[in-house]
């Protein structure tokens, strides 16, 4: 038993450390904040540069017209905007369902060696160089069909999307505590109902984040697009021909030596950022705004409690 006297004696050893530690604490906090600022600076400066240089080129004509003659500064990036929207949509149509289902498999049915192998290859696929994926799509789709097309591009981009969505879906689902699944079983619910109606809806916000990450990633991919959709100066005219996309257009414009082309390039970059941003916000708004529908998000934001 430690007596009061002994405690007082022990305590005399403690005190002097504290002042030093407070200073270290402040320094550490300062360093952390410093690095955060350092990290934000590039992001902030990119946004500033793009906005500064790109807003000058914005106009209705810019957004809706096909590109004019090279070097004239006329025309716009209409087809590129349309193309980017189309290719994001098409890739998502392929990549999102497969990705989510893979994530569900890995999380809910994934206790065996088979699943471990899939998980491993999934992680490998996530790190594939996108140009290699582009070449693969070129060989498998473009050469076989004989032409560049939307589907070739969607195919390539969905391969990039898939591992990201699968992994984030799996992680989000795993975050849902087991007790909710057990409650579902105890009610005599079928396994699939438990997964879709209970677990998935609880993991919604995490999954949406994963999908948005994937969308933002493919929105900016350029290399695979070169070999699958090629780029064009016309609006979308069918599934059997090349289309344009913003990353391609930005690349092409930035290579031209004309100032007007450069300005259009900046404008296109700004539009690309705005598109990804608005898709993100829009989807969050639609899926997460219902009260009680924010899933695990909700736990942190509950303020009122009643008896």
């Amino acid at each position: 038993m430690i007596t009061a006297k002994q405690r007082a004696e022990f305590r005399t050893h403690f005190r002097y450390n504290v002042k030093k530690r407070l200073i270290i604490d402040k320094i550490a906090t300062g360093i952390v904040i410093g690095f955060v600022a350092l990290a934000i600076i590039p992001l902030g400066s990119i946004l500033l540069e793009v906005t500064k240089n790109g807003s000058a080129a914005l106009s209705i004509e810019f957004l809706t017209q096909i590109p004019g003659a090279i070097g004239t500064g006329e025309g716009g990036i209409g087809p590129a905007i349309q193309g980017t929207m189309l290719i994001i949509a098409a890739s998502s149509m392929i990549g999102v369902p497969i990705g989510i289902l893979s994530g569900i498999f890995l999380s809910e049915f994934g206790d065996n060696r088979y699943a471990k192998t899939i998980r491993f290859f999934n992680d490998v696929m996530a790190e594939f160089p996108s140009i290699v994926i582009g070449i693969f799509a070129f060989l498998v789709i473009v050469l076989v069909l004989g032409h560049f097309s939307l589907w070739a591009g969607a195919f390539a981009l969905s391969i990039i999307m898939l591992p990201i969505i699968a992994r984030t879906t799996e992680e989000s689902l795993k975050l849902v505590p087991i007790t909710y699944r057990e409650a579902g079983y105890a009610l005599g619910l079928k396994r699939w109902i438990i997964i879709t109606r209970i677990v998935l809806s609880s993991a919604k916000s995490g999954m949406i984040t994963g999908i948005m990450l994937a969308v933002a990633r493919i929105g900016g991919e350029t290399a695979p697009l070169i070999m699958t959709i090629l780029g064009s100066s016309q609006f979308f005219s069918g599934f059997d021909g090349p289309i344009d996309a913003l990353p391609l257009r930005i690349w092409r414009l930035s290579l031209l030596p004309y100032d007007s082309a450069q300005a259009q390039g900046w404008g296109a970059a700004l539009i690309l950022i705005l598109i990804v941003l608005s898709v993100n916000i829009g989807v969050r708004y639609i899926f997460l705004r219902k009260s009680g529908g924010a899933g695990l998000f909700y736990f942190r934001s509950v303020k009122r409690r009643q008896r």
């Binding site: 057990e182 009610l187 619910l189 209970i198 009680g292 909700y298 409690r305």
Partner: protein
Amino acid sequence: MSTTEGTFSPLNNLTPSDSDYKLIAENVIAKYNGVEAVKNVSIKFKNKAVTALIGPSGCGKTTLLRCLNRMHELTKGASLTGRVLLDGEDLYSNEQNPIVLRRKIGMVFQKPNPFPTMSIYDNVAAGLKLNGLKNKTIIDEIVRSCLEMSYLWDEVKNDLKKPGMSLSGGQQQRLCIARALAIQPEVLLMDEPASALDPLATQKIEEMITELKKEYTIIIVTHNMQQAMRVSDYTGFMYLGNLIEFGETRQIFENPKNETTAKYVQGQFG
């Protein structure tokens, strides 16, 4: 060396269709990865009565409870031998569909777990709606009667669309009980239902159990002996996977026949 004593005789002599007993466990051995957690336990649970399972941590009482509605097999590496008879039918026979039989036996867990993305109404109706019941009138009626049985109706009746998670801990647990009752089970299994709650909430739950036992067979796992004394008619004491003693609650706590039981209830366990 047999350590199973008690006021009931071995089940070999009794017919499975003994109508006084709603649920009968026969020679249940439950394992996790080959390690026995429940060692050859046989119990008969009386109809429309409350049976409590007590014992120190790790004695197998929760495992036994989960064997009764086939939740045990959901754990990876879990295995079971023996029979569990509900109204005379073996729940573990090959003809039984575990999903269907779990609707006959409701379960309430230690930590309240209302579905986080659903409102109060949807939580109670979950077992109905998600199983395909569409008739809104019936669902409304069932939701209301279950919330009334859980002593929760008066507190939530004005806003059933509120999220289930916005209630206090005690209310959430009562919500979970209402949810379990909604699927119209015959038996209610409760795994330490009040251990995460404050005394007032605990009291409400105990009052509810005393009321519910008029129509339901209730099996409650608890480590609170006074709670077992207050709410249960029969008590089973388990230790290290064995059922050491089983009998009327009054007898177990006033005059336990087994020495280990006497030591445990008097707090003499090391």
